[in-house]
């Protein structure tokens, strides 16, 4: 489903997410279901009409990524911390977005709740991913 123009940037995040999932703590957070789930997911790059929306999980196998959102627009600034006070490379940050959405896809395992318009919950759930998968 990924349009050709986004294939490379998608692969970048996808492959980095797979690497993260190979780490024991990260894989366990997703109950060992991470690789199989993202492998079976239909990722679509679609304008979500709000640049502050990075992505949207619709079901266990349907995720929209906003081509005008953070997945595409984040770029690190040398010497300056990025989101969540961390120094992210683009692949790391893209992987994080895929993994955050994976948390929603596997909500039965992760306990994730819908967090649109709930900044505190979004931050909390993001930290739950960052802890075992990114740091």
């Amino acid at each position: 489903m990924t349009p050709a123009g986004y294939q490379d940037v998608f692969n970048q995040g996808y492959n980095a997410a797979l690497k993260d999932l190979n780490r024991k703590k990260c894989g366990s957070f997703f109950g060992g279901q991470g690789p199989a789930t993202i492998n079976a997911t239909w990722y679509r790059f679609l304008d979500l009409h709000n640049p502050s929306v990075a992505a949207q999980t619709n079901s266990t196998n349907s995720v929209f990524i906003n081509p005008n959102g953070a997945y595409m627009t984040y770029s690190p600034v040398p010497g300056q911390a990025g989101p969540f006070g961390l120094f992210w490379t683009q692949p790391q940050f893209r992987a994080f977005i895929i993994l955050h959405e994976l948390g929603h896809q596997l909500s039965d395992i992760t306990g994730f709740q819908p967090d649109a318009n709930k900044a505190a919950l979004n931050q909390q759930q993001s930290q739950e991913v960052i802890g075992p998968c990114i740091k």
């Binding site: 489903m1 990924t2 349009p3 294939q7 996808y14 993202i38 492998n39 079976a40 997911t41 239909w42 990722y43 679509r44 790059f45 679609l46 304008d47 979500l48 009409h49 709000n50 502050s52 929306v53 990075a54 992505a55 949207q56 999980t57 619709n58 079901s59 349907s62 929209f64 906003n66 959102g69 953070a70 627009t73 984040y74 770029s75 990025g82 989101p83 969540f84 977005i97 955050h100 959405e101 929603h104 819908p114 967090d115 649109a116 318009n117 900044a119 979004n122 993001s126």
Partner: protein, 156 residues
């Protein structure tokens, strides 16, 4: 690997067509049962309604829900080319987003919906001897995004 391109699945399309045609045949069977051998009944020709369901980036949407509802306009006042079906026809798009239905000639309202997309609908006219095409291009529904979209700024 994750899903990128879906191949044409002829079996899916065939199944959809058979499903729709089964309703058509059942209707004809009922007509024959009601009117006996019905030698005076006009031979009902089937028509084809087909199309593809895609998103706004032109990627196919599989498993979209397609409902075809007959509009009986004129059929009771002499418009003999609007034969239609009294029962709605329900289909799902195949893995390549394609769908097809065999229908009696007539006016139909076609309604297409898929998860997280706004629905699309159109009135179509099917005529004997010519396939009617309705491609539905679905847009992301902003009300769904408002409740499911993860807000994440590159700077937060």
């Amino acid at each position: 690997m994750y899903q990128i391109v879906r191949m044409v699945n002829a079996h899916d399309r065939l199944a959809s067509m058979l499903l729709a045609f089964a309703g058509f045949v059942a209707c004809q069977t009922l007509m024959v049962a009601a009117f006996g051998a019905a030698p005076d009944l006009p031979a009902v020709q089937s028509t084809t309604l087909k199309g593809t369901v895609t998103d706004s980036a032109d990627a196919p949407i599989p498993d979209a829900y397609i409902l075809i509802h007959w509009d009986s306009s004129g059929s009771g006042v002499g418009l003999t080319s609007n034969i239609g079906l009294k029962s709605d026809v329900v289909l799902k798009s195949g893995k390549d987003g394609a769908y097809a239905a065999q229908l009696p000639p007539g006016f139909y309202d076609v309604f297409v919906s898929a998860m997280a997309f706004g629905p699309a609908c159109r009135k179509v006219r099917t005529v004997t001897g010519k396939a009617t095409l309705y491609n539905a291009r679905l847009e992301v529904d902003t009300s769904v995004t408002a409740e499911l979209g993860d807000r994440l700024s590159p700077k937060n």
